[in-house]
Amino acid sequence: MRIFATIKIALRALRRNKMRSLLTMLGIIIGVLSVILAVSLTGGATKQVEDQVSSLGESVITVFSGNFTQGGMRGGWGSAPTLTIDDAKAIQAEIPNVVGISPEVRDREQVLANGLNWNTQVMGESPDYPQIRNWPMATGSVFSDQDVRSLAKVAIIGKTVVDELFPNENPLGETIRIRNLPFKVVGVLAPKGFNLFGQDQDDIVVVPYTSHMHRITARTFANDILVEAANDKVIDKVQNDITDLLLARHKSKEQDFTVRNQVELMQAVTATSRAMGFLLAGVAAVSLVVGGIGIMNIMLVSVTERTREIGIRMAVGARAGDILVQFLIEAVTLSIIGGSIGIALGLTLALLVGHLRNMPTVIPVLWIAVAFISSGFIGIVSGFYPAWKASKLDPIDALRYE
């Protein structure tokens, strides 16, 4: 018995009942389609989140100052004046594998230029900031260490601020006024878009942290310190070193600061997508089982309907095994064609939805393979009982069957 000849017989049998074959496949088609569609779209969404996380800088560690607690009222992170510029300098000087560091001072200010004004986030940072945030300059360049030392009145600004204060104008070399002090615009940051929490990251003015602390806010502490580790392998070591160093420096019994890294955030995101994956696998399993039951049902009908055919084949010398293989292949062909249609439709729909909603879609190669193999498997499982039943028929009874 040849496998190709059997497949041909199976295909012919399926072609004879086109509508029935299609309806039988529908269960598998819908199951596979929904899995592929969901996986492509959530995969795209997950990738988007991951891209955003890595756009924050993958090997970035953030040191927040401790809580400020007074009279039972507790402030949030960065509210207590526990992190100093000296802490930042010590981290840079004493801890290996630190490739960038920037003490951050944050404030909201009304910024004026060109007869226009705009309320925006004004950040005090070191020249390492664009490198740490993985954020290239669109034009101009970042201020220098010399600017930091000299409390220079220079600024780099984000795309949103450019749009609000310098419509149709090149802001480079222009002056913006913060608390009535003139700051010269030396660079424009490349557009970065919204972050994970929906904030416009381009609505920003960055000045040297010294200028911020002495000229704008008169602060003596940093809200937090951004530290970039050499790579994500040493990140835990660097994080521990920072904790040890700051504990020693602050000589406090309680830890008055918090150290966080992007890898932790990334892990949270991947955990979410893994949970989503399990959920999808569950849905897929249920719909494929339903599809399999449909196939088994129709194969049982088909065996009864074709009892005479089975009898004829047995009379001319088909072995029980030949009949078993014939019906098994028919079931597997049904389910694999159904699975393939489901995969094709699912991908088409995913790409279409992604295109229309301007979302990235991921072609889930692994899931396509899983869907294909499991639809074949479903065919074998659901086709086996009907095929076995057919092969057990007695040739004489089968020939007499009306």
Binding site: M1, R2, R12, I312, G317, A318, R319, A320, I396
Partner: protein
């Protein structure tokens, strides 16, 4: 006795256990059929002729007794071995033709070669099928489906199918039961031609007219052989057909 018998039945019994009553359908049949014979097995319904035929055709196993086909003892073989024997040594022709519907004549004829354990290339399968259709005079209808063929043509396709694996034994169960007189004679003509070429044929029928085209008549009653004799005034299909046509023309002329 000569050991070159195609079929040798010795005290064959078949008992069906249906409910409380045991039906003793075949009660001790002994029969020997030599190569090149053309035998009609006759009997009224319930005489056990179909049961006997099923056993000869290896579709069923005897309850008791021995059946040697080409010297092989059938009663000891398992299902798969019986299937192989049906495929290799026996060609079947049924009363109801038993062709696969919506399948072309040539594909119907080629079907048994699929189950041949000597692998036959598909081009050779079709070559053989076409040759067999030629033998039964249907070469031009190879692509027709059974529902596009007359009863006689369908039976010819069935005969071609029975021949495709080159069996030494052809079994026919009421092959003319569904056909009119002229077509029946035509089919008997095909059988006579095949028999002349050396194929052994065993045919079940209840029509005496049809049995007279064979060489030997075995009559069963209540599961036992009552008569076993050579056909005396044998009919030759070609002569009969000629007479029939002349008669028909005479009617038209009149």
């Amino acid at each position: 006795m000569a050991s070159n018998a195609v079929i040798k039945l010795a005290e064959l019994h078949k008992v069906y256990h249906t409910g409380e009553v045991d039906v003793h359908a075949v009660q001790g049949v002994s029969l020997e059929i030599l190569p090149g014979e053309f035998v009609a097995i006759m009997g009224s319904s319930g005489s056990g002729k179909s049961t006997l035929m099923n056993m000869i055709g290896c579709l069923d196993r005897p309850s008791q007794g021995r059946y040697l086909l080409d010297g092989t003892d059938i009663s000891t073989l398992d299902r798969n071995a019986l299937a192989d024997i049906r495929n290799q040594k026996i060609g079947f022709v049924f009363q109801g033709f038993n062709l696969l519907s919506r399948t072309s004549a040539v594909e119907n004829v080629a079907m048994p070669t699929l189950y041949n354990h000597k692998r036959i290339h598909s081009s050779e399968q079709y070559e053989r099928a076409n040759r067999c259709l030629e033998i039964v005079g249907l070469a031009k209808r190879a692509d027709h489906h059974p529902n596009q063929l007359s009863g006689g043509q369908q039976q010819r396709v069935a005969i071609a199918r029975a021949l495709v694996n080159q069996p030494s034994l052809l079994l026919a169960d009421e092959p003319t039961g569904n056909l009119d007189t002229q077509t029946s004679i035509e089919i008997m003509g095909v059988f006579q031609k095949l028999n002349d070429e050396g194929i052994t044929i065993v045919m079940v029928t209840h029509e005496l007219d049809i049995a007279r085209y064979t060489k030997r008549m075995v009559i069963l009653r209540d599961g036992k052989i009552v008569t076993d004799e050579a056909v005396k005034d044998r009919l030759i299909a070609t002569n009969e057909l000629q007479q029939l046509r002349q008669a028909q023309q005479a009617v038209k002329l009149a």
